[in-house]
């Protein structure tokens, strides 16, 4: 695994192993914030940024806990770092873009409990990525997450205009839609294989 090239990691993570549609990570914002295109994209960007920070920190932390043989603290230290990173993003957004801050609402602090972020940190540890590989992996995970979110938002904006039976309205329809999207992404299986 460790010898996979950077391009392979990128392609595989964005498409074939898309975090949302193939690995089921980050479903809460995927279902919650994908209603409108103009909140989906910034949400994706914010998540990507946090992923990048988390990945960098996780690399350093992993080095520390392995050196001092404190592996049982790994998970706890990761989550604390991620929570702080989210706090940082929140403060920056609040200062520079209050409108966006309000639009993202409760989902911004919830990035902390976005499994995609912790997922990046855990997977890069499990796959023993090098520093550069981890960096590419984090960016690719963010891009993949944003891609899924934006695709879903576009589809749901269209769906709002359609008339559907009462029974399928709401979450049921979104999940079926996500299933179809996921089916589409399965077509990428094998791309950048090895990851």
């Amino acid at each position: 695994m460790a010898e996979a090239s950077l391009g392979q990691i990128f392609l595989a993570t964005v498409l074939a192993n898309n975090f949302v549609l193939a690995m089921f990570l980050g479903l809460c914002p995927f279902v919650g914030v994908s209603g409108k295109l103009n909140t989906a994209a910034p949400m994706g960007a914010a998540t990507t940024f946090v992923m990048l920070v988390a990945s960098l920190c996780a690399y350093g932390l992993n080095y520390l806990v392995t050196t001092f043989e404190l592996e049982f603290l790994r998970l706890i230290s990761y989550i604390v770092v991620i929570a702080s990173a989210v706090q940082l993003v929140e403060m920056v957004l609040k200062k520079y873009s209050p409108a966006l801050f309000r639009a993202l609402g409760i989902y911004l602090p919830l990035i902390t409990t976005n499994c995609a972020i912790l997922g990046v940190a855990l997977f890069q540890t499990a796959r023993e990525y090098s520093f550069l590989q981890a960096l590419v992996f984090a960016i690719a995970a963010g891009v993949g997450f944003t891609l899924a979110l934006v695709l879903m938002a576009g589809l749901r904006e269209r769906l709002n205009l359609a008339t559907v039976p009462n029974v399928v309205q709401g979450a049921a329809l979104s999940l079926m839609l996500a299933g179809l999207l996921s089916l589409v992404f399965m077509g990428f299986a094998g791309l950048g294989s090895g990851a």
């Binding site: 549609l21 193939a22 690995m23 089921f24 990570l25 980050g26 479903l27 809460c28 914002p29 279902v31 919650g32 049982f72 998970l75 706890i76 989550i79 604390v80 929570a83 989902y107 602090p109 919830l110 902390t112 409990t113 976005n114 499994c115 972020i117 912790l118 997922g119 855990l122 997977f123 499990a126 009462n166 029974v167 399928v168 309205q169 709401g170 979450a171 049921a172 329809l173 979104s174 999940l175 079926m176 996500a178 299933g179 179809l180 996921s182 089916l183 399965m186």
Partner: protein, 220 residues
């Protein structure tokens, strides 16, 4: 979630809340990531449910005991550290009990930390109730979550591999519906379950008073 009249619930209602009215998987749509990712078989689903219930019970107890000492500003951070502690315990426990299971569940054991259901319960219930009450509610929620996972896992295993708990159901001629154990199947099966519940609600309009509509779904 924090209904003002919550104090008047009896212990039984308090317990049943998570199993039926506020089922984390089907009504609240919380903790979807593990719910969809590991439910390729009934065994995985049950193991994941049990692990989550353990973490939920442990963290609920601690959060409830500490509810008067934790300053409001740092409560979320405190909860997360408590939850992460129990997840670490369960992670090592499962690795010790069954390596096979440990590998099947993979990173999703550690990802219990970020299961929004657990943090949600800590914030909305455990931090406001005495230990016994909070534990009853947590047990109900954990069971409800396990039932939800089992409902997904069993259907996916039956359709996708033609087996249940590894026992073949339809004989050797069965053509498995492979897509059901692949990622899209997770979305489809959960969507189908939600359809069933929607249909149930619409079919019995008089019963809507006892069964809450799925308004919680936007909580993610």
């Amino acid at each position: 979630m924090a209904i003002p009249g919550q104090q008047e619930l009896t212990q039984l209602e308090n317990f049943m809340e998570g199993i039926w009215k506020q089922n984390p998987v089907f009504v609240m749509l919380l903790g979807l990531c593990p719910a969809l990712a590991v439910t390729v078989s009934a065994v995985n689903a049950l193991a994941m449910g049990a692990a989550t219930t353990f973490v939920l019970l442990g963290s609920t107890l601690l959060v409830s005991l500490m509810r008067n000492f934790v300053p409001k500003e740092v409560r979320i951070a405190t909860y997360i550290v408590i939850i992460a502690t129990f997840v670490t315990i369960v992670d090592y426990l499962i690795a010790a009990i069954s390596l096979e299971l440990y590998e099947a569940l993979g990173a999703f054991i550690q990802l219990i930390v970020v299961n929004c259901m657990i943090l949600g319960r800590a914030e909305a219930h455990a931090s406001r109730n005495a230990p016994i009450r909070a534990l009853t509610n947590a047990l109900g929620m954990g069971l409800g979550f396990t039932i939800g996972l089992f409902a997904l896992g069993s259907v996916r295993e039956i359709l996708g591999s033609g087996t249940l708990f590894g026992v073949s159901l339809f004989g050797p001629d069965f053509q498995p519906w492979v897509v059901m154990v692949l990622p899209p199947g997770g979305f489809f099966v959960l969507g189908a379950w939600l359809l069933v519940f929607n249909w149930w609600r619409n079919r019995t309009p008089a019963a809507t008073g006892t069964l809450k509509p799925a308004e919680g779904h936007s909580h993610g």
